[in-house]
Every structure is written in structure tokens, then in C-alpha cells.
């Protein structure tokens, strides 16, 4: 299978790899996928007092397209409000990375990761 240039770029130079303190109340963590399926994504967001995502980090176990999808996502969510970030659609990710049909699930997983991270953050705020 041939990869698009954008997938290769994110795969070779992944952006924002790493961790944020998961116990920090301004950090939301989302982990989606399963090792048995060959994909696990962990996305973390740090939200400022103004409600804007000021930092994002990821780690991904999965194929090149999964790594690229999560790497791209960390770039996209930064500077967005939670509302804007949760509006990101998997189709936009798939389109940006020119994912072939068999790799669409990678973008679906990435969309789920953002939603999961936002949910985690919101829970912490209510607590």
C-alpha cells in the first residue's frame, strides 16, 4: 500500500508526542482502541482558564495512518475551544491525510479520542 505524503510526514516527524499530567484538573485524557485490534490512541489536552485548548499530546500504538491521524489531531485541537474541538469530524482527518478506505477506521478512532479527552476534562471540572 502506498502512503500519502502527509501520512508519511506525520509518521516520520510526529508532532506533540508525549504526556501531560493526567492528575492535573486542567488536563483531559482520552484513550481509545484496543491492543487486540492493533490500534490504541491516547490523546491529552490541557485547557486554559479561557476554555481554549492550549496544549495537546499523544501516544499511539498502531499503523502509520493511526499515528498520523493522532499527530494531525494534536495540531488541530490546539487553540480551539472545546466546542470547536469536539466538532472535528473523522472525514476531515481522512480527507486531509488522503486515507484509503481501509484506513478510515484510524480517523474514526482519532475523532473518538478527542471526544473522550473532552469528556474526561468536563468530568473533572464538575467534580
Amino acid at each position: 500500500m502506498a502512503y500519502s505524503e502527509k501520512v508519511l510526514d506525520h509518521y516520520e516527524k510526529p508532532r506533540n508526542v508525549g504526556n501531560l499530567d493526567k492528575n492535573d484538573s486542567s488536563v483531559g485524557t482520552g484513550m481509545v482502541g484496543a491492543p487486540a485490534c492493533g490500534d490504541v490512541m491516547r490523546l491529552q489536552i490541557k485547557v486554559g482558564d479561557d476554555g481554549i485548548i492550549e496544549d495537546a499530546k499523544f501516544k499511539t500504538y498502531g499503523c502509520g495512518s493511526a499515528i498520523a491521524s493522532s499527530s494531525l489531531l494534536t495540531e488541530w485541537v490546539k487553540g480551539k475551544t472545546l466546542e470547536e474541538a469536539s466538532a472535528i469530524k473523522n472525514t476531515e482527518i481522512a480527507e486531509e491525510l488522503a486515507l484509503p478506505p481501509v484506513k478510515i477506521h484510524c480517523s474514526v478512532l482519532a475523532e473518538a479520542a478527542v471526544k473522550s479527552a473532552i469528556e474526561d476534562y468536563s468530568k473533572k471540572q464538575k467534580a
Binding site: 508526542v17 504526556n19 484513550m31 482502541g33 487486540a36 485490534c37 492493533g38 490504541v40 500504538y61
Partner: protein, 404 residues
């Protein structure tokens, strides 16, 4: 050294230049282009002579009678012809066939077709080392069993089935024994005068011959009969009609001749290279070798690097042509059924790479590959949340995964 480096000799091999040279003698107007079935002129006789020579060479490698060799288009056709051929010819005797879960799809899908036709198939589950438990095999043989079909060498993990012992067993139970030898011919000694194998499938392109040509060995004493699948001019004693592809057959014959001559030296050289590669990788944390390491062909190394996904690793190793058991590399999105059958969990199956070395592999290539593999595993593990959790002592099985 040229990049990418070819480490996928079990998928196919390049044609040996000596073989290509031979093949070119049977194509052009200046060559022996005749139809080997033409009995009335020199063109036909010359082509027939080439076929005979090739048949002798193939038979010589496996110590068989040349009359027992039937040309086919490859091992897939040979497997189909052997299994369906026996099933259809002997179905009045019984409709039970035994095979294993780790066979090539050419055998498994043929068996599935026979199931649709009313045959019953038993699929043996191999042990953790990839080998069949002989006691279990014997216990599975019934009065209505007509055929046991097992591969000699597994294409993914390279383990060698003890076909000599199984041949004794099947013969004593009066059951036919078919062996897919696509991955073993030229790599493992085969002596069909000694081994009680009734049918054996071969392919040329796995041992430096051309693609599109293979053979089926059909034993004459005691006689094995098969129903033909391809009807026509009655070629190959009626078992497989169709004009013989002289250049392909001459190429296969030459490949088998070279294999007989060079196999023992070549195996030693390849094994040394394989062991060099293993030595360069074996201290990597959380790495698992798939399949028995002793009862295994020289050129195969199948390793799971736990917590690294196989396809992303292959992507990183773009200078190395290897294959993976990862689901992401298969059309079905299922990880390797062979690794699953030997008890590897999905994670390890997703994390596997198969390196297969061969005639043109060099020490320089091995030495180039080792640090490349090591550094990329490290890089991908740094990127893996699973690796981080593993290092923190989290039991990955204790987590409620949200699977999609």
C-alpha cells in the same frame, strides 16, 4: 549494496541468472520453441527433450521416478489437483480428510470447497511450537478417512513437519498422504523412495525458478489415482491437460538441478546469516520468536516485537522488504491465522515480522538491517502508550479496552 534489501524469500525468489539463461533457449525462432506434444518433426522432439530433462531434474531432487511428476501452473494448482483429485476419485471409500489450521490457503480453501460438496474435514490445531502432535493426528484418523494433507514447511514460521514419520502412520492406516512442499523443496532433503508420501506439491518460484510453473508428484507404487481437474488433450497421462510451457518447465528443471547441487552448502551459509541476524536482535526487550527454532528451515526468522504494531514497523523499515502478520497488511484486517493458531494473542500477532533470507542475501545486508530494526523499535515504543504502561507495570489485560 542496493536498497531496499530483499528479506522476503518465502514470498518469492528472483530467478537465478542460470535459470533465466536456460529459459531463453526455448522461446525465439532460433530456439527450441516447438510444442513438446508435436510428434512429427524436430521442433517438437527438441522441446520434448527439454521437458524430459527438466522432469529428470525435478525427480532427482526428491528421489522420485520422472514418470511421477505432473506439471502444473504452481503449488496452488498442485494442491487443488491433489486434494480434489483424491477426494473425487476415492469418495466411495470415505469422505473424511485431515489437514491443519496452519496450512496455506490453497489447501484450506480447497478443503472448504470440499466441505460444501459434502466432505468432512478435521483441522488439527498445532502445538505452541507450530508443529502437529503426531498422537493427535493418529487419533483423528477414522475408517472413512481418505486423505491427510499437511505442509512440509510452514510459509510463515518455517517449521518443518516430520513427514517421514507421518508417512509411516498414514500408510499403515491405508490413508493417502499429500504434502505441500512449496516451501521445503531445495531447502530440506526430500527422499520419496524412503518417505511414504503419496502426493507432493511443488512450486518453481520459491527456489529461484520462474513464477507460473509447478508440479505435482503422484506416486506410482503403490499406485495413487486422481480425478483430473483440467480436461483437454490428455497431457501428463491425462491428469493435467494443456500444452506444456517448455520455457517455464525448463526453468523449473534448471532451478531444481541447481538446488540439488548447492542445497547443503547454501543452507549452511543462510543459517549462519539467519543466526547472525538473530544474535543482533535477541536482547531486545519483549521479543518473541514464533515457531520452533530447531525444527526449522535455515532462512526463516519470524519475530513478534511486543507493543509495536507490525505495519508501522514495516513502514519504518522501508529499506527492508519483509512481511508482517499484522492485520493492517492483510485485506481481511485479521491478524495472521497461523500465529493465532499457535496460541499467540492478537497483540503478538499484530506485532510480528517475518524475515526470510535466501541465495542472494549477504552479511552486509544483515549488518545494515540490525541497527535499523533496533532503532525503529525503540522509536515506535517511545510513541506507544502501551509500552509506557508496560514500563509502569500496568497489566494490559486488566484494562477494559474500548474496542471499535
Amino acid at each position: 549494496m542496493n536498497l531496499p534489501i530483499y528479506f522476503d524469500y518465502s514470498a518469492t525468489t528472483p530467478v537465478d541468472p542460470r535459470v533465466a539463461e536456460k529459459m531463453m533457449q526455448y522461446l525465439t525462432p532460433q530456439g527450441h520453441f516447438g510444442n513438446p506434444a508435436s510428434r512429427s518433426h524436430k521442433f517438437g522432439w527438441d522441446a520434448e527433450k527439454a521437458i524430459d530433462e527438466a522432469r529428470n531434474n525435478v525427480a532427482a531432487l526428491i528421489n522420485a521416478d520422472p514418470k511421477e511428476i505432473v506439471w502444473t501452473s504452481g503449488a496452488t494448482e498442485s494442491d487443488n489437483l491433489a486434494i480434489k483429485g483424491i477426494a473425487h476419485f476415492y469418495q466411495k471409500k470415505g469422505k473424511h480428510i485431515i489437514t491443519s489450521m496452519t496450512e496455506h490457503k490453497a489447501v484450506l480453501d480447497t478443503c472448504r470447497q470440499l466441505e460444501r460438496e459434502g466432505f468432512e474435514i478435521s483441522y488439527l490445531n498445532p502445538q505452541a511450537n507450530g508443529l502437529i502432535d503426531l498422537k493427535e493426528l493418529e487419533a483423528t484418523i477414522r475408517d472413512d478417512t481418505i486423505l491427510v494433507s499437511l505442509m512440509h514447511v510452514n510459509n510463515e514460521i518455517g517449521v518443518i513437519t516430520d513427514i517421514a514419520t507421518i508417512g509411516e502412520m498414514t500408510r499403515s492406516h491405508k490413508v493417502f498422504f499429500h504434502v505441500d512442499a512449496a516451501q521445503s523443496a531445495g531447502k530440506v532433503p526430500i527422499d520419496l523412495a524412503m518417505m511414504k508420501v503419496d502426493l507432493m506439491s511443488f512450486s518453481a518460484h520459491k527456489i529461484y525458478g520462474p513464477k507460473g510453473i509447478g508440479a505435482l508428484y503422484v506416486r506410482r507404487k503403490p499406485r495413487v489415482r486422481i480425478e483430473s481437474q483440467m480436461h483437454g488433450g490428455g497431457h501428463e497421462r491425462g491428469m493435467r491437460s494443456g500444452t506444456l510451457a517448455t520455457h517455464q518447465i525448463a526453468g523449473m528443471g534448471e532451478a531444481f538441478r541447481i538446488a540439488k547441487e548447492e542445497m547443503s552448502i547454501e543452507n549452511k551459509r543462510i543459517e549462519k546469516l539467519r543466526n547472525r541476524m538473530l544474535a543482533g536482535l535477541q536482547d531486545i526487550e519483549e521479543m518473541y520468536i514464533n515457531g520452533d527454532m530447531k525444527q526449522r528451515i535455515a532462512g526463516n526468522l519470524n519475530i513478534s516485537f511486543n507493543l509495536v504494531e507490525g505495519e508501522s514497523l514495516m513502514m519504518a523499515l522501508k529499506d527492508l522488504a519483509v512481511s508482517s502478520g499484522s492485520a493492517c497488511t492483510s485485506a481481511s484486517l485479521e491478524p495472521s491465522y497461523v500465529l493465532r493458531a499457535i496460541g499467540r494473542n492478537d497483540e503478538l500477532a499484530h506485532s510480528s515480522l517475518r524475515f526470510t533470507l535466501g541465495r542472494f542475501t549477504t552479511e552486509e545486508e544483515i549488518d545494515y538491517a540490525i541497527p535499523l530494526i533496533r532503532s525503529n523499535i525503540e522509536r515506535l515504543r517511545d510513541l506507544s502508550p502501551l509500552w509506557e504502561m508496560y514500563k509502569e507495570g500496568v497489566d494490559l489485560n486488566s484494562i477494559q479496552w474500548d474496542s471499535h
